[in-house]
């Protein structure tokens, strides 16, 4: 059955040939979705024969629930997210259906009645704006738009899987690049799964749990169409019922993990617990992500869109059938003044995708410790000193009364 020309990672529609297994680690983690603190994560790239189309399949198994993430590299970058309430649910891929013009039924999760939540996220276009031509007072768009890049016209087959960090990177170039903008550059999507909660060392240091996976979008080296271009992403979600998901901006006092960023943005598919998307409204224009290179990230409001006006995503249609309740929003990165993509031709932005309760940042133990000492020490000294004075006063007055 094996032939030397077969791709090393995975072959055939149903049997994964290489699995990535991670040992279960117990940790004191904030409660995720259905209460799972740790999950066993299996990450693999499934290829279809004979065409070189790939799916990244992540299965995160908890004690009584499973999360399935299916990322596709054909069509625009998209993810289908399915949460089931059993550890025995499996994904079934019918490649012949999936690659046909009508892919409905090509992706299925069995048993169907165990599905608690399912939705999809598609990144349809890379937007570009000329920041030097900003109309006064207009918040969106942030400049005169250049023709956008449609991400389904990109080839995403450059896939690198890193089992140690449970991450996979899709590097994309346009199939047709007449201007040569991406001759020395690429747009990369890095997906990372987690078996327990933690916080990466790199800003924006989003707190993740076992119920989430992280996506990092990086635009590196591509030439912009102008001297001062601002980039953006068009993101499409599948609405829960007729309404669009809700966007929430949470202001907080805590910027320990992302200096000078006091906000956390969330996209919630329904009332909690359900699927969510979480990100900090900041992007970075240098590889060493620090305050000096941070760009503000603006999210437009969600608007319902009809399916025909968007690039078609096969896996979304494969799992959900023909849908028409798509909702679109735009993310734009940067300001006309300040740092921008033009500094080092680098832009990166991170987000979390998960199911259940979105992770909440809390004050670090160091801050709490310093505050405890700062407020406690004067209080104790005041108390102790006051007591000592009182006792001394009493002792002296007693002495005098004898005399």
């Amino acid at each position: 059955m094996w032939s030397p020309e077969e791709p090393r990672w995975g072959w055939g529609p149903r049997a994964p040939t290489s699995l990535v297994l991670l040992s279960v680690l117990v940790s004191a983690a904030p409660l995720g979705l259905l209460g799972e603190e740790t999950r066993q994560v299996f990450m693999e790239v499934i290829s279809g024969c004979p065409t070189p189309q790939n799916l990244l399949y992540i299965r995160a198994v908890g004690t009584n629930s499973t999360l399935h993430y299916v990322w596709s590299s054909f069509g625009p970058p998209a993810v289908v997210l399915v949460a089931t309430n059993t550890t025995q649910s499996v994904l079934k891929v019918n490649w012949s259906l999936l690659l046909s013009p009508d892919p409905e039924g090509g992706l299925m999760v069995h048993p169907k009645n165990s599905i608690q939540f399912s939705s999809a996220l598609v990144f349809t276009r890379l937007l570009e704006f000329d920041s030097t031509k900003v109309s006064e007072g207009a918040a969106e768009p942030p400049g005169k738009p250049y023709p956008p890049y449609s991400l389904d016209k990109f080839s995403w087959n450059n896939i690198t899987l890193d089992p140690d960090t449970l991450s996979t990177t899709f590097q994309g170039h346009p199939i047709d690049d007449p201007t040569g903008a991406f001759a020395n550059g690429s747009l990369a999507f890095k997906v990372q799964a987690f078996s327990r909660s933690g916080r990466p060392a790199q800003p924006p240091r989003l707190l993740h749990t076992a119920d989430t996976c992280q996506l990092e979008v990086a635009l590196v080296g591509a030439s912009s169409q102008g001297n001062h271009s601002l980039f953006g992403l068009e993101v499409v979600t599948l609405g829960n019922g007729p309404d669009c998901p809700s966007m929430k901006e949470q202001r907080s006092i805590d910027d320990e993990y992302a200096p000078a960023v006091f906000q956390l943005d969330q996209l919630l598919w329904g009332s909690l617990p359900s699927g969510f998307m979480q990100w900090r409204p900041v992007a970075f224009s240098q590889k060493q992500r620090n305050r000096e290179s941070s760009l503000p990230c603006q999210a437009s409001s969600l608007s319902p869109t009809l399916a025909y006006s968007l690039p078609h995503s096969p896996i979304v249609q494969a799992f959900f059938g023909s849908q028409n309740n798509f909702c679109t929003f735009n993310l734009t990165f940067g300001d006309p003044t300040g740092p921008g993509y033009w500094d080092q031709h680098y832009l990166c932005w991170s987000m979390l995708l998960g199911v259940g309760l979105p992770p909440i940042d809390s004050l670090s133990p160091l801050v709490l410790g310093i505050m405890a000492v700062a407020l406690g020490a004067p209080g104790l000294v005041l108390l102790g000193g006051g007591l000592a004075l009182l006792l001394r006063h009493k002792w002296y007055s007693e002495y005098q009364s004898i005399n």
Partner: protein, 464 residues
């Protein structure tokens, strides 16, 4: 006053034999030109107040233009705070020598002119650093500016003592301080607007725009220099007309006196260093804090940042009166430090409108200045006072220099919440020192916390 009037009239009435070397003795001196008359002294008061205006205006220019400096000179917050640190470094040493230089080396007139020149030249070098895109030149400019800045304040006070006596003196000191604070406020609210105007006229932002803006800001230093020159002339003239002596600081600095400082005095030093380290670097970094955490526009952020100075301008004399009338200095210091702690906690842990916290900070800052510095005079004999104040200024500047850099480092690596927690820790240390001071003072039966009445009684019962 009447005698001086008579003397003046005698000079006027008499001719060339009335006095030697009196310029224009035969002419009638109008009130404005007569050094003994109130009108003239008010003119001199105006000049004395304007003397410090330029120095205080330019001290906080980095705070007002923080984002522009960081962007145009491509520096992070740590390097930006070096602009404040370099101002403080020379004053660690100069605080001891300011009085000596004015009394023995230059004299008050030349001393003021020289220090004003240092302020001007320093600001010009600072601006040139922007024009030539050399951050080291900016740091050098702030160093030179620092040499002149603090010593100019000493000179200003010496002029005040020389021209005004007794009860008037407190009012004059208060007015000088208020004028200085007005300078800081005008700077906070003006420089951002000035930068944007220059940007539109030059067509682009960048180090050149920054340099030109700083040069224009330096015009206030030229104004101070002119005041120094006019003051010197008027002082010389008054000396000749009224035969009064050139003003002296009267400070005698003997570094060996430091070993005689008592424990309460050391506690006061700790209070001073820790408190000001949580106020001035915070104002230096405040503008960007308000725009990033609370979403304020650039103008509003500058306005909130300057509220501390705006409040201290009128409240300093009022609190001075309050502390004079009631005494109980330690209790007032305790209130001020506790209020500052509360203010920083509001800014760190809530999203409440920062106007509230900053107004509280302004009141606390004014109150502390009025209650803390006079305590040194209660603890230290007259002949050691110069050394004590010099030492206090010196370690205050040392603390500011070090904490400024540290604050920049913390902000770059850990963000604003951690920076605020750091300032809270500093204020808490100051609070600890105040509590210890109260306990030590109470235990030793000291007089720091006497009410005004008790102090009066003590003065009356004193055989001297």
């Amino acid at each position: 006053m009447a005698e001086e009037d008579e003397e003046a009239r005698a000079l006027l009435a008499g001719g060339p034999e009335a006095g030697s070397g009196v310029p224009g003795g035969a002419r009638a001196l109008p009130a404005l030109c007569d050094p003994s008359r109130l009108a003239h002294r008010l003119l001199v008061l105006l000049l004395m107040c304007l003397l410090g205006f330029g120095s205080y205006f330019c001290y906080d220019i980095p705070a007002a233009l923080q984002t522009h400096v960081k962007r145009d000179m491509q520096v992070n917050t740590t390097k930006f705070m070096l602009l404040y640190a370099w101002y403080s470094w020379p004053n660690v040493v100069l605080c001891f020598f300011g009085g000596f230089l004015i009394d023995r080396v230059f004299g008050i007139r030349w001393g003021t002119i020289i220090f004003s020149c240092f302020v001007c030249i320093g600001q010009v070098i600072f601006a040139l650093g922007g024009i030539f895109n050399a951050f080291w030149l900016m740091e050098l400019g702030r160093f030179v500016f620092g040499i002149g800045g603090e010593s100019l304040a000493v000179a200003q006070n010496t002029y005040a003592v020389s021209w005004f006596k007794g009860k008037e003196l407190n009012l004059v000191f208060g007015l000088q301080l208020s004028m200085a604070r007005i300078g800081s406020t005008v700077n906070m609210n003006l420089m951002g607007w000035l930068y944007s105007k220059i940007e539109t006229s030059l067509g682009s932002s960048g180090h050149m725009t920054l340099g030109v803006t700083l040069m224009i800001g330096g015009i206030t230093c030229i104004l101070s220099l002119i005041c120094a020159l006019v003051l010197a002339y008027l002082d010389l003239r008054a000396e000749k007309i009224l035969h009064k002596e050139q003003g002296k600081t009267g400070e005698v600095i003997k570094l060996t006196d430091i070993k005689d400082f008592s424990l309460p005095l050391w506690l006061i030093f700790i209070i001073c260093v820790c408190y000001y380290a949580a106020v001035f670097p915070f104002i230096g970094l405040g503008k960007v804090f308000f725009s990033e955490k609370f979403g304020f526009s650039s103008q509003s952020a500058s306005a909130v940042n300057s509220i501390v100075y705006i409040i201290s301008a009128p409240m300093s004399p009022i609190f001075g009166l309050l502390v004079d009338k009631t005494g109980k200095n330690i209790i007032w210091v305790l209130c001020a430090v506790a209020a500052t702690l509360l203010s920083h906690m509001m800014l760190a842990f809530t999203l409440w409108n920062p106007w509230i916290a900053m107004s509280l900070l302004g009141l606390a800052y004014s109150l502390l200045a009025c209650a803390l510095w006079p305590m040194v005079a209660f603890l230290v004999p007259e002949h050691q006072l110069g050394t004590a104040y010099g030492f206090m200024q010196s370690i205050q500047n040392l603390g500011l220099a070090v904490i400024s850099i540290f604050a920049g480092l913390i902000l770059d690596s850990r963000g604003y919440l951690f920076l605020e927690v750091f300032f809270i820790a500093c204020v808490s240390l100051s609070l600890l020192a105040v509590i210890c001071l109260y306990l030590v003072n109470h235990g030793q039966g000291g007089n720091l916390n006497y009410s005004a009445k008790q102090r009066e009684e003590m003065k009356l019962s004193d055989p001297e």
